[in-house]
């Protein structure tokens, strides 16, 4: 369980894991060497509801930061997710095929989407938000919709 920052509004508490970086769409990236694990934030999953299906770029696909790398269908919306990192997809979370609800249940752990072999993580990381910055982003979004 990673350390977390939290923001509570009304009956909702949003968690932001502190060991990774985020883009504005709520996609996180966590580096282990040059291998970057990618998933969606707790705010993303609470905001968009129960996930019905997720389609992720196949292993071996070249992806670019900012371009769509996955599509998530929830009970509320269909969302094209912009990737946080450029490189080649090295693995996808096959468990999501039968258990898409893992994204809702454990967005920072078992609900990860893909692992990407990064081509330039240092540059990509510089364009992402730190956990504290993302928490502020969540506050603004949550307050705007209150």
């Amino acid at each position: 369980m990673p350390e977390e920052l939290t923001y509570t509004q009304d009956k909702f508490t949003f968690h932001v894991a502190t060991d990774r970086y985020y883009n504005a769409a709520g996609v996180w990236a966590k580096a282990e060497g040059n291998l970057i694990t990618v998933g969606v934030s707790d705010f993303f999953q609470q905001h968009n509801g129960d996930v019905a299906f997720v389609d992720v770029a196949e292993v071996g696909t070249a992806v670019s930061a900012g371009d769509e790398f996955a599509n998530i269908e929830t009970i509320k919306v269909d969302i094209e997710l912009p990737g946080p990192v450029s490189g080649v997809v090295a693995a996808v979370n096959e468990a999501l095929e039968l258990q898409a609800e893992l994204i809702n249940q454990d967005p920072y752990g078992a609900g990860w989407l893909a692992r990407v072999e990064a081509s330039d993580w240092t540059s990509d990381r510089a364009a992402l938000m730190t956990p504290q910055q993302y928490l502020e982003h969540v506050k603004i979004q949550a307050q705007a919709e209150a």
Partner: protein, 137 residues
């Protein structure tokens, strides 16, 4: 409201929610068309309001719930109403089994939503029969 010979069906009350509408359409099909003699609907809103007749119905009969999402309000409210759920259905699970039947619309479901409600209704009707011991199938 209570008929001890009938299976009680409690659908989601999510007004303005596509999956809630699917759950209610499935419940209507079961009680009005598929198993009118052996099933009976109790509105979730009556349980929420503490309606005595509704609480009696769920506490004295076997209950099937059809929830729209993982909040499972129907199942939870049956338990709050001193009932026990014999079988829980979830629209999302049904959709995962039938991805081509993508539900859209709220007041009026699209074709996929109508078909999904029908598939779900048939699954619920089978459970009604099982709970009735197959006597009224």
């Amino acid at each position: 409201m209570s008929n001890p010979k009938r299976i009680i069906i409690v659908p989601c009350s999510g007004i303005g929610k596509t999956y809630g509408t699917v759950s209610r359409e499935a419940a209507y099909e079961v009680i009005e068309e598929l198993r009118p003699q052996t099933s009976q609907l109790v509105p979730l809103s009556k349980l929420v309001l503490g309606d005595e007749e509704a609480r009696t119905a769920v506490s004295e009969n076997q209950v099937i719930t059809i929830d729209g999402c993982s909040l499972a309000c129907a199942a939870k409210m049956v338990e709050v109403g001193d009932g026990s759920v014999a079988k829980e259905f979830a629209v999302l699970d049904a959709y995962r089994r039938h991805r081509k039947l993508k539900p859209r619309g709220i007041a009026e479901l699209n074709e996929g939503g109508q078909q999904l409600a029908h598939v779900l209704a048939e699954e619920v009707a089978e459970v009604v029969d099982e709970l009735q011991g197959g006597q009224d199938a």
